[in-house]
Symmetry: C2
Subunit: 204 residues, 2 copies
Protein backbone atom coordinates (compact mmCIF):
# COMPACT_ATOMS: atom_id res chain seq x y z
CA UNK A 1 0.00 0.00 0.00
CA UNK A 2 1.43 3.39 -0.99
CA UNK A 3 1.71 6.20 1.48
CA UNK A 4 -1.11 7.99 -0.35
CA UNK A 5 -3.41 4.96 -0.09
CA UNK A 6 -2.74 4.69 3.64
CA UNK A 7 -3.55 8.36 4.11
CA UNK A 8 -6.73 8.02 2.04
CA UNK A 9 -7.88 5.08 4.12
CA UNK A 10 -7.21 6.90 7.36
CA UNK A 11 -9.12 9.89 6.09
CA UNK A 12 -12.04 7.69 5.10
CA UNK A 13 -12.12 5.91 8.48
CA UNK A 14 -12.08 9.22 10.28
CA UNK A 15 -14.92 10.51 8.11
CA UNK A 16 -17.01 7.38 8.70
CA UNK A 17 -16.41 7.53 12.44
CA UNK A 18 -17.58 11.12 12.44
CA UNK A 19 -20.62 10.17 10.35
CA UNK A 20 -21.48 7.31 12.74
CA UNK A 21 -21.16 9.63 15.71
CA UNK A 22 -23.49 12.08 14.01
CA UNK A 23 -26.08 9.38 13.25
CA UNK A 24 -25.86 7.94 16.77
CA UNK A 25 -26.34 11.40 18.21
CA UNK A 26 -29.32 11.87 15.89
CA UNK A 27 -30.97 8.67 17.11
CA UNK A 28 -30.28 9.51 20.74
CA UNK A 29 -31.68 13.01 20.45
CA UNK A 30 -34.72 12.01 18.38
CA UNK A 31 -36.49 11.66 21.70
CA UNK A 32 -36.64 15.41 22.10
CA UNK A 33 -40.23 16.49 22.56
CA UNK A 34 -40.91 20.19 22.36
CA UNK A 35 -42.80 22.79 20.40
CA UNK A 36 -41.35 23.83 17.06
CA UNK A 37 -41.15 26.89 14.84
CA UNK A 38 -42.44 26.19 11.34
CA UNK A 39 -41.86 28.60 8.48
CA UNK A 40 -44.06 28.22 5.40
CA UNK A 41 -42.66 30.36 2.64
CA UNK A 42 -42.36 30.48 -1.17
CA UNK A 43 -44.55 31.84 -3.98
CA UNK A 44 -46.96 28.91 -4.33
CA UNK A 45 -50.52 28.40 -3.16
CA UNK A 46 -50.97 26.70 0.21
CA UNK A 47 -49.15 28.59 2.96
CA UNK A 48 -52.03 30.16 4.87
CA UNK A 49 -54.30 27.17 4.25
CA UNK A 50 -51.59 24.89 5.65
CA UNK A 51 -51.37 27.02 8.79
CA UNK A 52 -55.14 26.75 9.15
CA UNK A 53 -54.97 23.00 8.73
CA UNK A 54 -52.59 22.89 11.68
CA UNK A 55 -55.10 24.90 13.71
CA UNK A 56 -57.60 22.10 13.05
CA UNK A 57 -54.97 19.58 14.08
CA UNK A 58 -54.32 21.29 17.41
CA UNK A 59 -58.03 21.78 18.09
CA UNK A 60 -58.60 18.08 17.45
CA UNK A 61 -56.75 17.43 20.72
CA UNK A 62 -58.44 20.30 22.51
CA UNK A 63 -55.31 22.47 22.58
CA UNK A 64 -55.47 26.22 22.88
CA UNK A 65 -54.67 28.16 19.69
CA UNK A 66 -53.91 31.79 18.92
CA UNK A 67 -54.09 33.22 15.39
CA UNK A 68 -52.82 36.63 14.35
CA UNK A 69 -53.04 37.77 10.75
CA UNK A 70 -50.92 40.53 9.34
CA UNK A 71 -51.87 42.20 6.02
CA UNK A 72 -55.55 41.51 5.70
CA UNK A 73 -58.21 43.48 3.90
CA UNK A 74 -61.69 44.35 5.04
CA UNK A 75 -63.43 41.27 3.70
CA UNK A 76 -63.24 38.10 5.76
CA UNK A 77 -62.22 35.00 3.81
CA UNK A 78 -63.78 31.58 4.33
CA UNK A 79 -61.35 30.32 6.92
CA UNK A 80 -61.66 33.57 8.85
CA UNK A 81 -65.45 33.37 8.82
CA UNK A 82 -65.12 29.81 10.07
CA UNK A 83 -62.88 30.87 12.94
CA UNK A 84 -65.17 33.72 13.97
CA UNK A 85 -68.44 31.84 13.64
CA UNK A 86 -67.65 28.22 14.46
CA UNK A 87 -64.54 28.44 16.63
CA UNK A 88 -64.90 31.38 19.01
CA UNK A 89 -62.58 29.53 21.43
CA UNK A 90 -59.65 30.39 19.14
CA UNK A 91 -58.05 33.74 19.98
CA UNK A 92 -58.11 35.47 16.63
CA UNK A 93 -56.78 38.90 15.78
CA UNK A 94 -56.37 40.66 12.43
CA UNK A 95 -54.29 43.68 11.65
CA UNK A 96 -57.31 44.53 9.55
CA UNK A 97 -58.21 47.69 7.81
CA UNK A 98 -55.34 49.64 9.29
CA UNK A 99 -53.21 48.22 6.53
CA UNK A 100 -53.50 47.58 2.83
CA UNK A 101 -50.96 47.22 0.06
CA UNK A 102 -52.35 50.43 -1.40
CA UNK A 103 -52.31 52.82 1.52
CA UNK A 104 -48.82 54.12 0.73
CA UNK A 105 -48.93 55.38 4.29
CA UNK A 106 -45.75 53.96 5.79
CA UNK A 107 -46.20 55.56 9.19
CA UNK A 108 -49.77 54.28 9.47
CA UNK A 109 -48.70 50.80 8.39
CA UNK A 110 -45.92 50.67 10.96
CA UNK A 111 -48.34 51.77 13.66
CA UNK A 112 -50.76 49.00 12.71
CA UNK A 113 -47.95 46.42 12.61
CA UNK A 114 -46.65 47.41 16.02
CA UNK A 115 -50.16 47.38 17.48
CA UNK A 116 -50.66 43.88 16.07
CA UNK A 117 -47.34 42.73 17.47
CA UNK A 118 -48.49 43.87 20.90
CA UNK A 119 -51.17 41.16 20.63
CA UNK A 120 -48.61 38.54 19.60
CA UNK A 121 -46.08 39.07 22.38
CA UNK A 122 -48.36 38.04 25.27
CA UNK A 123 -49.27 34.85 23.35
CA UNK A 124 -45.61 33.98 22.87
CA UNK A 125 -45.05 34.16 26.61
CA UNK A 126 -48.17 32.25 27.60
CA UNK A 127 -47.66 28.51 27.81
CA UNK A 128 -51.39 27.83 27.70
CA UNK A 129 -51.11 28.33 23.92
CA UNK A 130 -50.09 25.07 22.25
CA UNK A 131 -50.03 26.69 18.82
CA UNK A 132 -49.68 30.27 17.66
CA UNK A 133 -50.14 31.15 13.98
CA UNK A 134 -48.59 34.35 12.67
CA UNK A 135 -50.01 34.61 9.18
CA UNK A 136 -48.12 36.78 6.65
CA UNK A 137 -45.71 38.01 9.28
CA UNK A 138 -42.69 37.72 6.97
CA UNK A 139 -43.77 40.88 5.13
CA UNK A 140 -43.59 42.86 8.36
CA UNK A 141 -39.93 41.92 8.53
CA UNK A 142 -39.05 42.45 4.89
CA UNK A 143 -40.74 45.88 4.96
CA UNK A 144 -38.97 46.55 8.27
CA UNK A 145 -42.31 47.38 9.92
CA UNK A 146 -41.32 45.22 12.88
CA UNK A 147 -37.93 44.98 14.53
CA UNK A 148 -36.44 41.65 13.50
CA UNK A 149 -34.43 41.23 16.68
CA UNK A 150 -37.49 41.77 18.84
CA UNK A 151 -39.48 39.20 16.86
CA UNK A 152 -36.66 36.64 16.99
CA UNK A 153 -36.19 37.18 20.71
CA UNK A 154 -39.87 36.66 21.47
CA UNK A 155 -39.97 33.52 19.33
CA UNK A 156 -36.90 31.91 20.86
CA UNK A 157 -37.92 32.83 24.42
CA UNK A 158 -41.39 31.26 24.09
CA UNK A 159 -42.49 28.35 26.35
CA UNK A 160 -40.90 25.09 25.18
CA UNK A 161 -44.27 23.35 24.76
CA UNK A 162 -45.48 25.99 22.29
CA UNK A 163 -45.30 25.72 18.51
CA UNK A 164 -45.45 28.68 16.17
CA UNK A 165 -46.30 28.73 12.47
CA UNK A 166 -45.03 31.67 10.43
CA UNK A 167 -46.23 32.26 6.87
CA UNK A 168 -45.46 34.59 3.99
CA UNK A 169 -43.26 34.88 0.93
CA UNK A 170 -39.66 35.79 1.50
CA UNK A 171 -39.12 37.11 4.98
CA UNK A 172 -36.00 37.67 6.97
CA UNK A 173 -33.03 35.35 7.04
CA UNK A 174 -33.07 35.57 10.83
CA UNK A 175 -36.49 33.89 11.07
CA UNK A 176 -35.42 31.22 8.60
CA UNK A 177 -32.41 30.52 10.76
CA UNK A 178 -34.32 29.91 13.99
CA UNK A 179 -37.11 27.85 12.37
CA UNK A 180 -37.03 24.11 13.14
CA UNK A 181 -38.94 23.28 9.97
CA UNK A 182 -38.93 25.28 6.75
CA UNK A 183 -41.15 24.40 3.80
CA UNK A 184 -40.97 26.34 0.57
CA UNK A 185 -44.20 26.19 -1.40
CA UNK A 186 -43.19 26.52 -5.02
CA UNK A 187 -45.69 27.59 -7.64
CA UNK A 188 -45.46 25.07 -10.46
CA UNK A 189 -48.70 26.26 -12.01
CA UNK A 190 -51.54 28.51 -10.91
CA UNK A 191 -55.06 28.57 -12.32
CA UNK A 192 -54.97 32.36 -12.28
CA UNK A 193 -52.39 32.35 -15.06
CA UNK A 194 -54.86 30.50 -17.23
CA UNK A 195 -57.58 33.07 -16.81
CA UNK A 196 -59.43 31.30 -14.02
CA UNK A 197 -60.69 33.54 -11.23
CA UNK A 198 -59.79 32.87 -7.61
CA UNK A 199 -62.37 30.42 -6.30
CA UNK A 200 -64.53 31.20 -3.29
CA UNK A 201 -64.23 28.50 -0.65
CA UNK A 202 -60.94 27.29 -2.11
CA UNK A 203 -58.64 30.26 -2.72
CA UNK A 204 -60.22 32.55 -0.13
Amino acid sequence: MSEKQIKDEQRHKKKMKKQKKKIDAGIASAIEERGVIILLTGDGKGKTSSAFGMIMRALGYGYRVGVVQFIKGEQLSGEELFLKNVLPEVDFYQMGTGFTWDTQDRAGDIEAAVKTWSVVEPMLSDQSYHLVVLDEITYMLSFKYLDEKRVVNALTARPSNQSVVLTGRGGGAAIREIADTVSEVKEVRHAYNFGIKARKGVDY
Copy 2:
Protein backbone atom coordinates in the same frame (compact mmCIF):
# COMPACT_ATOMS: atom_id res chain seq x y z
CA MET B 1 -30.92 55.18 -37.78
CA SER B 2 -29.00 52.20 -39.11
CA GLU B 3 -30.70 49.29 -40.79
CA LYS B 4 -29.93 47.18 -37.72
CA GLN B 5 -31.51 49.73 -35.38
CA ILE B 6 -34.65 49.87 -37.50
CA LYS B 7 -34.89 46.10 -37.48
CA ASP B 8 -34.36 46.00 -33.70
CA GLU B 9 -37.09 48.55 -33.16
CA GLN B 10 -39.52 46.68 -35.37
CA ARG B 11 -38.72 43.46 -33.54
CA HIS B 12 -39.30 45.19 -30.21
CA LYS B 13 -42.63 46.67 -31.32
CA LYS B 14 -43.80 43.29 -32.57
CA LYS B 15 -42.78 41.68 -29.31
CA MET B 16 -44.61 44.31 -27.26
CA LYS B 17 -47.71 44.01 -29.41
CA LYS B 18 -47.68 40.26 -28.86
CA GLN B 19 -47.17 40.79 -25.13
CA LYS B 20 -50.07 43.27 -24.97
CA LYS B 21 -52.31 40.85 -26.84
CA LYS B 22 -51.36 38.13 -24.39
CA ILE B 23 -52.08 40.33 -21.38
CA ASP B 24 -55.39 41.56 -22.84
CA ALA B 25 -56.42 37.99 -23.52
CA GLY B 26 -55.45 37.13 -19.95
CA ILE B 27 -57.62 39.89 -18.52
CA ALA B 28 -60.54 39.01 -20.78
CA SER B 29 -60.42 35.35 -19.87
CA ALA B 30 -59.78 35.95 -16.18
CA ILE B 31 -63.54 36.14 -15.83
CA GLU B 32 -63.82 32.36 -15.95
CA GLU B 33 -65.46 31.15 -12.75
CA ARG B 34 -65.37 27.44 -12.10
CA GLY B 35 -64.08 24.81 -9.73
CA VAL B 36 -60.41 23.90 -9.99
CA ILE B 37 -58.16 20.90 -9.49
CA ILE B 38 -55.34 21.64 -7.09
CA LEU B 39 -52.37 19.30 -6.71
CA LEU B 40 -50.23 19.69 -3.60
CA THR B 41 -47.09 17.66 -4.02
CA GLY B 42 -43.41 17.61 -3.03
CA ASP B 43 -41.45 16.27 -0.07
CA GLY B 44 -42.02 19.13 2.37
CA LYS B 45 -44.33 19.53 5.33
CA GLY B 46 -47.71 21.14 4.69
CA LYS B 47 -49.63 19.25 1.99
CA THR B 48 -52.34 17.55 4.05
CA SER B 49 -52.61 20.48 6.44
CA SER B 50 -53.09 22.80 3.46
CA ALA B 51 -55.91 20.62 2.16
CA PHE B 52 -57.53 20.77 5.60
CA GLY B 53 -57.17 24.54 5.64
CA MET B 54 -59.16 24.65 2.42
CA ILE B 55 -61.85 22.53 4.07
CA MET B 56 -62.14 25.26 6.70
CA ARG B 57 -62.31 27.84 3.92
CA ALA B 58 -65.19 26.07 2.16
CA LEU B 59 -67.05 25.46 5.43
CA GLY B 60 -66.75 29.15 6.24
CA TYR B 61 -69.22 29.79 3.41
CA GLY B 62 -71.39 26.82 4.34
CA TYR B 63 -70.36 24.75 1.32
CA ARG B 64 -70.57 20.97 1.30
CA VAL B 65 -67.24 19.14 1.58
CA GLY B 66 -66.15 15.55 1.05
CA VAL B 67 -62.84 14.19 2.39
CA VAL B 68 -61.33 10.85 1.48
CA GLN B 69 -57.99 9.77 2.88
CA PHE B 70 -55.84 7.12 1.30
CA ILE B 71 -52.98 5.51 3.28
CA LYS B 72 -53.94 6.09 6.86
CA GLY B 73 -53.07 4.10 9.92
CA GLU B 74 -55.29 3.11 12.78
CA GLN B 75 -54.71 6.14 14.94
CA LEU B 76 -56.68 9.27 14.15
CA SER B 77 -54.61 12.43 13.89
CA GLY B 78 -55.73 15.79 15.25
CA GLU B 79 -57.40 17.06 12.11
CA GLU B 80 -59.22 13.77 11.69
CA LEU B 81 -60.46 13.86 15.28
CA PHE B 82 -61.62 17.40 14.62
CA LEU B 83 -63.55 16.35 11.52
CA LYS B 84 -65.19 13.41 13.29
CA ASN B 85 -66.06 15.20 16.51
CA VAL B 86 -66.65 18.82 15.56
CA LEU B 87 -67.65 18.65 11.90
CA PRO B 88 -69.94 15.64 11.37
CA GLU B 89 -71.48 17.49 8.41
CA VAL B 90 -68.31 16.78 6.41
CA ASP B 91 -68.47 13.46 4.56
CA PHE B 92 -65.29 11.81 5.70
CA TYR B 93 -63.94 8.42 4.66
CA GLN B 94 -60.60 6.76 5.38
CA MET B 95 -59.05 3.80 3.62
CA GLY B 96 -58.07 2.95 7.17
CA THR B 97 -56.66 -0.19 8.58
CA GLY B 98 -57.02 -2.12 5.32
CA PHE B 99 -53.76 -0.58 4.28
CA THR B 100 -50.38 0.17 5.78
CA TRP B 101 -46.94 0.67 4.34
CA ASP B 102 -45.95 -2.53 6.09
CA THR B 103 -48.60 -4.99 5.01
CA GLN B 104 -46.64 -6.17 1.96
CA ASP B 105 -49.97 -7.53 0.83
CA ARG B 106 -50.36 -6.08 -2.63
CA ALA B 107 -53.66 -7.78 -3.40
CA GLY B 108 -55.15 -6.61 -0.10
CA ASP B 109 -53.89 -3.08 -0.68
CA ILE B 110 -55.38 -2.92 -4.14
CA GLU B 111 -58.70 -4.14 -2.81
CA ALA B 112 -58.70 -1.42 -0.14
CA ALA B 113 -57.75 1.23 -2.71
CA VAL B 114 -60.49 0.20 -5.12
CA LYS B 115 -63.04 0.12 -2.30
CA THR B 116 -61.99 3.61 -1.28
CA TRP B 117 -62.23 4.82 -4.86
CA SER B 118 -65.82 3.59 -4.96
CA VAL B 119 -66.55 6.21 -2.29
CA VAL B 120 -64.80 8.91 -4.29
CA GLU B 121 -66.55 8.42 -7.63
CA PRO B 122 -70.06 9.32 -6.44
CA MET B 123 -68.66 12.50 -4.86
CA LEU B 124 -67.00 13.48 -8.13
CA SER B 125 -70.32 13.25 -9.94
CA ASP B 126 -72.37 15.06 -7.28
CA GLN B 127 -72.52 18.81 -7.76
CA SER B 128 -73.69 19.38 -4.21
CA TYR B 129 -70.02 18.98 -3.19
CA HIS B 130 -68.22 22.31 -3.53
CA LEU B 131 -64.91 20.76 -2.47
CA VAL B 132 -63.59 17.21 -2.48
CA VAL B 133 -60.25 16.41 -0.81
CA LEU B 134 -58.40 13.27 -1.91
CA ASP B 135 -55.58 13.05 0.61
CA GLU B 136 -52.50 11.00 -0.35
CA ILE B 137 -54.13 9.78 -3.55
CA THR B 138 -50.94 10.20 -5.60
CA TYR B 139 -49.48 7.06 -4.02
CA MET B 140 -52.39 5.00 -5.33
CA LEU B 141 -51.35 6.05 -8.81
CA SER B 142 -47.61 5.63 -8.42
CA PHE B 143 -48.13 2.15 -6.91
CA LYS B 144 -50.64 1.45 -9.70
CA TYR B 145 -53.27 0.48 -7.14
CA LEU B 146 -55.80 2.61 -9.03
CA ASP B 147 -56.21 2.92 -12.77
CA GLU B 148 -54.86 6.31 -13.75
CA LYS B 149 -57.19 6.71 -16.72
CA ARG B 150 -60.23 6.04 -14.58
CA VAL B 151 -59.12 8.60 -11.98
CA VAL B 152 -58.38 11.23 -14.61
CA ASN B 153 -61.71 10.63 -16.34
CA ALA B 154 -63.68 11.01 -13.12
CA LEU B 155 -61.78 14.19 -12.24
CA THR B 156 -62.24 15.86 -15.61
CA ALA B 157 -65.90 14.84 -15.86
CA ARG B 158 -66.80 16.30 -12.46
CA PRO B 159 -69.39 19.13 -12.13
CA SER B 160 -67.88 22.45 -13.18
CA ASN B 161 -68.65 24.10 -9.83
CA GLN B 162 -66.67 21.48 -7.92
CA SER B 163 -63.06 21.86 -6.80
CA VAL B 164 -60.81 18.95 -5.93
CA VAL B 165 -57.61 18.96 -3.88
CA LEU B 166 -55.18 16.11 -4.44
CA THR B 167 -52.22 15.57 -2.14
CA GLY B 168 -49.16 13.33 -1.92
CA ARG B 169 -45.54 13.16 -2.97
CA GLY B 170 -44.82 12.36 -6.57
CA GLY B 171 -47.89 10.98 -8.28
CA GLY B 172 -48.69 10.46 -11.90
CA ALA B 173 -47.83 12.86 -14.67
CA ALA B 174 -51.42 12.55 -15.91
CA ILE B 175 -52.84 14.12 -12.74
CA ARG B 176 -50.25 16.85 -12.86
CA GLU B 177 -51.28 17.62 -16.41
CA ILE B 178 -54.98 18.10 -15.68
CA ALA B 179 -54.47 20.11 -12.50
CA ASP B 180 -55.27 23.83 -12.75
CA THR B 181 -52.96 24.67 -9.88
CA VAL B 182 -49.86 22.75 -8.84
CA SER B 183 -47.85 23.62 -5.73
CA GLU B 184 -44.71 21.77 -4.85
CA VAL B 185 -43.93 21.86 -1.14
CA LYS B 186 -40.17 21.64 -0.91
CA GLU B 187 -38.52 20.56 2.32
CA VAL B 188 -35.86 23.12 3.10
CA ARG B 189 -35.43 21.86 6.64
CA HIS B 190 -37.36 19.52 8.90
CA ALA B 191 -37.23 19.39 12.70
CA TYR B 192 -37.10 15.61 12.50
CA ASN B 193 -33.64 15.75 11.01
CA PHE B 194 -32.47 17.59 14.10
CA GLY B 195 -33.69 14.92 16.48
CA ILE B 196 -37.00 16.56 17.32
CA LYS B 197 -39.98 14.23 17.50
CA ALA B 198 -43.12 14.85 15.47
CA ARG B 199 -45.29 17.19 17.50
CA LYS B 200 -48.82 16.30 18.50
CA GLY B 201 -51.28 18.95 17.39
CA VAL B 202 -48.84 20.29 14.83
CA ASP B 203 -47.42 17.40 12.79
CA TYR B 204 -50.33 15.02 13.36
